[in-house]
Symmetry: C2
Subunit: 271 residues, 2 copies
């Protein structure tokens, strides 16, 4: 149950992810909600989440939320697909502030844009095994046919900068050949995958690719408006916390953000 009693429009929005991938979500929030302070938490000491069990993901998610609560955020966005898939339902019962995941916004958009309602979903092993995308798509559109597929090599590929070229193309083909010719819409169910968009598109021609970053930002905007919590600061503050060395994050952040962040904006988090 959401309880807005102690929330104030001047408080920052909290965003967390297992690492740097969620910066694609941060970037959209910043664009759609330019008057908001944002605190970003990347659990870089324990990443990746994608192959880990539900119990462990729930534990990490609770610890991340408690960290952000100490920073007095007014709303939390779980930018990590794995964490949204495995922990969001559980977490919502515990905490009273608004918490938004990345699954529902992507599902909503996919069902909207798909013409034949044959929808593919790719994600980490844990996300796909949770079957949450399938469940939510079928809830919205009973006649949909959902093809789910985990692509566990995509995250390390992106993290190592292999976003194009022969090796990347071969691995994309290896996984996605099972979807070829079967779908008209594909949900990129992991914050790393948008960086492979170009190569995925050139293999799955004419398939619409959905990533949740933009839809999430839009949902957050509407929610804050409804709760009367929208902020309009002239000079919003962005702060980044990571559980591993801030130095390492500083370097990879640039790659995801395509924008500079300052060394002084990155702090160590003890989650």
């Amino acid at each position: 149950m959401i309880n807005t009693k102690n929330l104030s429009r001047n408080k920052p929005i909290g965003v967390f992810d297992s690492g740097v991938g969620g910066l694609t979500v941060f970037k959209e929030i910043k664009k759609v909600l330019p008057g908001e302070d944002i605190i970003y938490l990347g659990d870089t000491a324990r990443l990746p989440y994608g192959n880990k069990s539900r119990k462990t993901i729930i534990r990490f998610t609770i610890e991340n939320i408690l960290f952000l609560l100490k920073k007095k955020v007014k709303l939390i966005i779980i930018a990590c697909n794995t964490s949204s898939s495995l922990a969001l339902d559980y977490i919502k019962k515990i905490f009273s502030l608004p918490i938004i995941g990345v699954i529902e916004p992507a599902v909503k958009k996919a069902v909207e844009v798909s013409l034949n309602k044959k929808i593919g979903v790719i994600g980490t092993k844990s996300t796909i095994e949770s079957k949450i995308y399938e469940r939510l798509i079928l809830k919205k559109e009973k006649k949909a046919k959902v093809y789910s597929l985990s692509c566990p090599l995509f995250v390390p590929l992106v993290e190592e900068g292999f976003v194009k070229g022969r090796i990347t193309q071969m691995i994309i083909r290896f996984y996605l050949k099972k979807l070829k010719g079967k779908i008209d819409t594909l949900i990129l169910g992991c914050t790393h995958y948008p960086l492979l968009k170009k190569e995925i598109s050139s293999y799955l021609k004419e398939v619409k690719l959905i990533d949740s970053a933009n839809s999430v930002a839009e949902e957050v905007r509407i929610l804050l408006e409804n709760l009367n919590l929208l902020n309009n600061k002239k000079k919003p503050v962005y702060r980044f916390y990571v559980s591993d060395d801030p130095q390492g994050f500083f370097k990879t952040a640039k790659f995801f953000l395509k924008d500079r962040i300052e060394r002084e904006q990155v702090y160590l988090a003890d989650v």
Copy 2:
């Protein structure tokens, strides 16, 4: 300083790794020291270690050692190359029981078998950046020429079962072409890499591949003998602890161990 006062030959040997890779070491220990109880700890909730910072690796290593100390082990083997590279020196100053890493035994063997003393080392980013292999090789053999190279995609490849085939061959060539024709010996400086031995050998023909598992077991045997701590149990006990879901470990363990372990041997560890 090693202090054997409170150690007893009847106590188990402790082995830890970031995950399942160290089972290649466990297997050799079991073979070379068939009378010893062994406790294996895999920090599967926080794996992999290979891209993480020295500070974080030291913290994880201390926590793992404290866990094994509670199990009253008489000696600890750090089966993880990253942890051995970044934390062993520091750790040895804190704890008084014997702690063995995987770096020195591999270096010793490589210097022995190399004819031209042109030695390659491959490992995770953190291992290679630590420059420890280089330093130890040159300490043993001043005239050696060392070629160090991180291969960050090898661990996810192995974990996803890509130990042969076109994609694996291409990634091996991508990294190792820099070593082709330059070395006669290559240290596989990560417990996952021995599973790629066949494909690496077929690309780097006539290069001797060194993995530390066997040499470590041999070193442990000699040390226990010297300290008068060798055990000769008829029916030794093997127990496995993991920080993520034991179920997941149970499955992948078979792949690394090429041997069955029983469900009742695997427990949850709260490191």
